[in-house]
Symmetry: D2
């Protein structure tokens, strides 16, 4: 019986290194790896192909995913899941590795309760918002892409007295924004998890501007929808020329960092080992306290990930 891999949901920069490790490691275990293209959509449409070493040569440094991803509505319907299962049967695939997020894991869970399929989900999203794991594939690369942009912006900031409001991705989680704010020395950090107080921010910034500050960097999480509000606040209340930069999809690209590649490699090794040595396994592989473990899918998808309290403490001075 063979092992298949698919990507589901938003793409992230850890996907290609994981796909390469998957092919190499499955062959090293004398098993047969399969690609399922375009996520659950491709699973339904039988876009399944035996993977070869040459498919994954030279992909380590590429962002995105060579086997494509999708968001599938059809997979919510029983008849399409049945079709998906028949496609797997046809290729003798009874084990799946899925790179994706909460939504994908939920679908997978339903699927594996209906049909005899073993799977391991590997948390893959640049938002780092999945319960039970300290890391999700794509985060370190996204953070470094943001850092490069902030370094470029800081250069130009020395030219004018000016404020920049930079919006980073993150629907419900302020993780990317918070880490970026800390590691790039921002003055303001606005994320969904922490309240902010413009009045005290104003007092603080005015004091610093009096003492010679000539540059203000405000990081705002997309999920707060406060980017424009903060920009107006800086223009009006602080009276400083302000530019807004929405980083957008640049954050999903970029050459995977070493940490990313290594985490991708370790997630895959742990997931493949588990699949090959267990029966009736339907888990999510998580990384916590420097170890890889396996959690019930239900536990993972039913609880919201909380921002680390230490991290919240570290950004609080940027919210008031």
């Amino acid at each position: 019986m063979a092992i298949g891999i698919l990507c589901s949901g938003g793409d992230s920069c850890g996907m290609n290194p994981a796909i390469k490790s998957f092919v190499d490691y499955v062959y090293a275990n004398n098993e047969t790896p399969y690609f399922i293209y375009e996520g659950f959509e491709g699973l339904i449409d039988n876009k399944i192909k035996k993977a070869e070493h040459k498919d994954v040569a030279g992909i380590l440094h590429l962002g995105g995913t060579i086997i494509k991803t999708s968001r599938s509505k059809r997979f919510f319907e029983t008849k399409y899941r049945k079709q998906a299962f028949e496609n797997l049967q046809q290729h003798n695939i009874d084990k799946l590795i899925v790179l994706g997020g909460d939504g994908s894991f939920k679908g997978l869970h339903v699927f594996a309760q209906e049909f005899p399929i073993n799977f391991i989900g590997i948390p893959t999203t640049i938002d780092n918002d999945i319960y039970g794991t300290e890391y999700t594939l794509g985060v370190d690369t996204a953070l470094n892409v943001i850092k490069d942009a902030l370094d470029d912006i800081r250069d130009t900031s020395s030219s004018f007295k000016r404020a920049f409001v930079v919006e980073t991705m993150g629907r419900d989680s302020g993780y990317l924004t918070a880490i970026s704010a800390i590691t790039s020395g921002a003055e303001i950090c606005i994320i969904p998890e922490v309240a902010y107080d413009l009045k005290s921010i104003k007092t603080r910034l005015n004091k610093e501007l009096e003492h010679g500050r000539e540059y203000i960097l405000a990081m705002v999480s997309e999920g707060t929808k406060k980017t424009e509000q903060i920009a107006k606040f800086l223009e009006k209340s602080i009276d400083i020329e302000t530019r807004v930069i929405v980083l957008g999809h640049i954050q999903r690209g970029g050459n995977p960092t070493v940490f990313e590649r290594r985490m991708a490699h370790s997630f895959i090794i742990n997931a493949v080992d588990k699949l090959l040595t267990s029966s009736a396994i339907q888990n999510i592989c998580v990384y916590t306290k420097n170890e890889f473990k396996f959690m019930d899918t239900t536990s993972v998808v039913s609880q919201p990930k909380q921002l680390n309290k230490e991290l919240i403490k570290q950004i609080e001075f940027m919210t008031k």
Copy 2:
């Protein structure tokens, strides 16, 4: 008598390398270099300081300008220009190098007709829109910053069937957009100088999508204000998921390229040599056919720069 340097208008990545060459080269000629901070604003407010070697150590790789720039309204008024001249007199400065664009050169021209000041303007803007010169400082770095972003975007594009509309800077000139479109293999290029035909673009793209195309890159020049229109066209008429990315101020930052640093160095050497060997010189230093020459300020500021016809020819297939 001493030589001063100032930056005026929008910042660009060629400014710091030029400032470093200025200090080193003026001292090598046994003359005294002066910094005028914050452009004409600082000139009016007497923010003038003798430059030292140590001020420019380690600035070659920084974007922006360490002596800051400004857009001055006061310099349009005679009384402030008089004040500016008195400040220069006070420091024994009778020669100026100005890094800026058309607007700055115009102000400078008026100033030099009223007071005995020699100056050379060095065209400095990422837009490459100044008449008489094939290059303006900042362009090569901006182009490579855009390229890096486009390479990141292309990575993620392999993950989904998707279109990206990327807006680059350029108020009246499509230069940055056109070169980026050519060198990154875009499918659509919308600039102020060239008409486009959505109907024929639709026919072309539909044909390519039928033949397997899975990614569309549309480059749009800020000055056309057509970014949203093109995005809607792709979503509605081409029926492909579309993301808009406005690159914004990232384009003004970044480590100056080798070409940038070299042009900055050569512009400065030519300008300083000219100032030291001429009297009553009020010119713009321009680069054309691989040579540095000097043009009347009036000729430079009174004529619009046209996009090279060869370049227009090279992008035409992306407009229809």
Copy 3:
């Protein structure tokens, strides 16, 4: 009483972000931060200065250390350590943070047994070879600098049938080499900790070359002194054109990564908190299982760091 910081031994890319966090965090705690320039040499020569916020503005993205480092022979002598202590007394400094490695910690330990000085050592070396901690400042940036070089080399490798032997830093530890080999998909990995077998490597590579392999990447750890041997082996026994690249000091430079900046920040916060709340503390701050802890200096410096067994297992296929 005030807190001083100094760098000792080889420089690494985590030093500047740590120095910035130190200044900001000590002031946030209403204490006074001091810089001790040029390591123990500067401590002996009284190169001590109160640190200001403006000293650390804009240093986050710089490799190296703005307060310089040194390897001090004089600090081994009692009379110079006495002089060092008197200098600290003169500035009212009774707490020290030292960024360095084993050698520096040993000297510090002797010093603190002679004089009433509290200190926390923060492990800082690109070699990741300090006992008791999973991370030492500088490692992540060095790994990404190596990765960038390997990605460039891989590009050119597609042009010829060719082998590259790339030597990375690491006197006694193969950590950098091993991680680089895994995350860049090398074919050979030679490190001090693991025996290798050229005969079986030859069999393996010849088989792969027969099946179309056109590129061989061999990673060799500096400490093995086997770079030339491996190059000759590839030229002679495998009969493939081979190029040697010694990465050298490039590995100590580069813009600190986000992970680096964050670890630097967390090490500092933990170290400063500990110093401010403890008496008679003479420890090393270590990072293990995702937590920061404090260890006896003697325990840290008296035991060799072993490579993680999991890691050794992951590279074994590249040694035979």
Copy 4:
């Protein structure tokens, strides 16, 4: 009749962008493009394939050459050239574009005098040492790769009082070294074309070290074989800790710059236009004074390229 393209000699970063433009532009002219793999070696062995659009998708950002290159000894023999011609005839190819250097052009010239073949050579080498052209493909990318390494080295230089001797490529030409020295602010520049005087260098550096200089960067051209001599001079006569870095093959890799991609595009357009509209054409396409022209192969290969006098003047202060 069809048009073929091949690479010959050392690889460079302009090759892939040129290959992409070649395929796209030949098809846009309704002609048929062919790849000849592995240079003249592949031509002799009939490794010839019709090129497709999909072969060149996503190669713009890759260094090296996807159609490989070689240095062919067999092509010096008549019987192999005859075989090469028969292979071309078999594919109906009577026009060739060759990306290479002097050696390749010489072979090509002999070939085209024996057989009815039209060709255009496009100067492609990172050394910029070909007579008659101001630019050869690969130079701008190599210069920026060197710059990135020098920027990294400079970071770490702030940590110690130290000298770096950096060796760049260039067998007979000091071009890369000279431009790098100017644009990175080196203190010493040693190239084959300019004599140097260690005695006066010593006087100059000692004076600067007295005035606080803490870092020395010496750029040395590979072709001078003086790297070790300069390192010893710095260690012994200047008495400063010195590190040698040989950049080596890293200089042939890297993501092609915008300038590179644009030059590749323009060289190809000019070469293809010429081949399609001329008969009996056996020329080299050269770039001079901002224009593309065509020169006799004999004129190009029989004369050594001289370094620009202006450039020599700009580095002279670093040689004494």
